[in-house]
Symmetry: C2
Subunit: 319 residues, 2 copies
């Protein structure tokens, strides 16, 4: 466990050196893979053996090969590849924060001078460019859930980022106005992605805490936002979203929501660690904590479902 950091480093190196792309062409020796990456053989051999030991690839008769899992999730030619998320998930801030965990616990808040929370930082641009593969399944699911009530006319996509959540709505409801709220530097990426997808979204530059959101929305999409902030801040945000919805309108919250024991399921529950290290007061909130926040913000009924092909959950609350 004291050397677990090597696992992240090895996966990062494999991605950066194009190893998982090279293995997509078939099994290869360390010598062949080193030649392909134009690096000395020793390092490539040790990297490949290490990735084999930790179960990411396999080795047989001196040749390394994809596992069925790495072929789907690490080969860049696979549409489900998660490799593009690495530049965000292992960005300089996250890695620095991880090294200062003891200090963070002593202080009670992130050791980062500029946290990964409500500030306009370059990492949110990286996020918008990198995290699409991890969000695609959820975006389709949320659109399916919201569209069962018929096509919406106006939807607010809060912290729109890569834009996928709004795009999934716009694709199914071409007459709907999708308003994308995010920092100006991030909205450049959102609009770039919208153009590439042949879709139109309205830019609303600013912070979710202070921007003029407008009103009368059929739905407000709040995806991966609340975990960055304290419950108090989240109640303030929810009140703003509540006011922006038409009566009967719905707030769709995509989140890591652990069970009340806070240790299961592992992916949701361990996400708290990411929020401890990188934000001043964020957390992976449990459903009882979400109920408390929703009540305080004036929301009525709410429904929680698991998102297929994702470790996340969808919470839909009605004004």
């Amino acid at each position: 466990m004291l050397t677990a950091h090597q696992r992240s480093a090895a996966l990062k190196a494999g991605i950066e050196l194009g190893l998982f792309a090279a293995l997509g062409d078939g099994p290869a020796t360390a010598h062949e893979l080193a030649t392909r990456a134009t690096v000395p053989e020793r390092g490539m051999r040790i990297l490949c053996d290490f990735l084999t030991i930790i179960g990411l690839i396999v080795k047989q008769d001196g040749r390394y090969a994809h596992t069925p899992t790495s072929a789907v999730f690490l080969d860049p030619r696979s549409p489900a590849s998660m490799a593009p998320t690495m530049p965000f998930l292992m960005n300089e801030k996250i890695m620095t924060a991880s090294r200062h965990l003891t200090q963070t616990i002593r202080n009670g808040y992130t050791a980062l001078e500029v946290p990964l929370a409500g500030e306009e930082v370059i990492e949110w641009v990286t996020f918008a460019r990198a995290m699409q593969p991890m969000m695609a399944a959820a975006a389709e699911y949320i659109a399916d859930v919201l569209l069962t009530a018929g096509p919406p006319q106006k939807v607010l996509d809060v912290a729109a980022s890569h834009g996928l959540f709004g795009f999934a709505i716009a694709r199914r409801a071409p007459a709907c106005e999708v308003v994308a709220l995010d920092f100006p530097s991030v909205l450049e990426v959102t609009q770039e992605h919208a153009r590439a997808a042949g879709l139109k979204v309205t830019s609303l530059p600013g912070s979710a805490f202070t921007a003029d959101l407008g009103e009368g929305y059929d739905a407000v999409l709040v995806t991966n936002l609340f975990h960055h902030f304290s419950m108090e801040d989240n109640i303030a945000l929810m009140r703003r979203f509540h006011a922006a919805l038409r009566p009967g309108g719905r707030m769709a919250v995509l989140e890591m929501i652990p069970n009340e024991d806070r240790i299961s399921p592992p992916d949701q529950a361990s996400f708290s660690m990411m929020m401890l290290t990188n934000t001043p007061s964020g957390d992976a909130y449990s459903m009882s904590e979400y109920r408390e926040m929703l009540d305080a913000a004036g929301f009525g009924a709410s429904e929680l479902t698991d998102v297929p092909q994702s470790p996340q959950r969808l919470l839909v609350a009605t004004r």
Copy 2:
């Protein structure tokens, strides 16, 4: 895997905040553990949940507790605790080198300006103070193996460090002169440990590559040394040790020696990664590579055994 670095960070924080000592007094809530460590509760709760999720401790009815494994290997009151090894295994150099793995592979050697290999660096003092728990079982085993041929008169302990390997001999053969070779800053620790153990060893300050080793040794102990260097350098070292032995004398090599497939057993085989990141040309060499080096250095018969209660192997080669 991209967040595996959090596991090392969490274990480090648990050790530094005295969590595993506190759990030694019995199950406790996050509030109680935070009070004990004088830190805010949020960070302690998230840390404890995370350590539970990764299997290091358990949680029941809101109270955290040791597992049988953490009680033995992480509670500082346990004589088998591995927690003292953390300051070496997660030292600044090792953590920095891990972050630069891609560059290391591109260059073909460590990205560290001053590597963790044959130089006199402060980390070898840390090693001497920290790594005893991981070496105790092997030290007793090596002494047992060497003493079956009767008590030796003169033994050279190369890279003596904490001193445990020489001490195990000295304890069983009180008339034997144990010569401890290491850098001067490290020998201060060796002698401090010898005094504490009520044993006498002779200091031989210097590098294994250049020091005047003397001659006529019944045994030369070479523990965790060869993995830092190239095969060529190791052959040069072995020749020096060969010359220092009396005819029939034995070189006892404690090492991480993976199987020829270089992917098993996992602890030995993955040790190559530590050598790739931190040394210019070290490796976890296989037995066929050791045979090649031993032959080139003029050694005769050699025997390989597993070391009980250790991931390491013992190679005994006779002059």
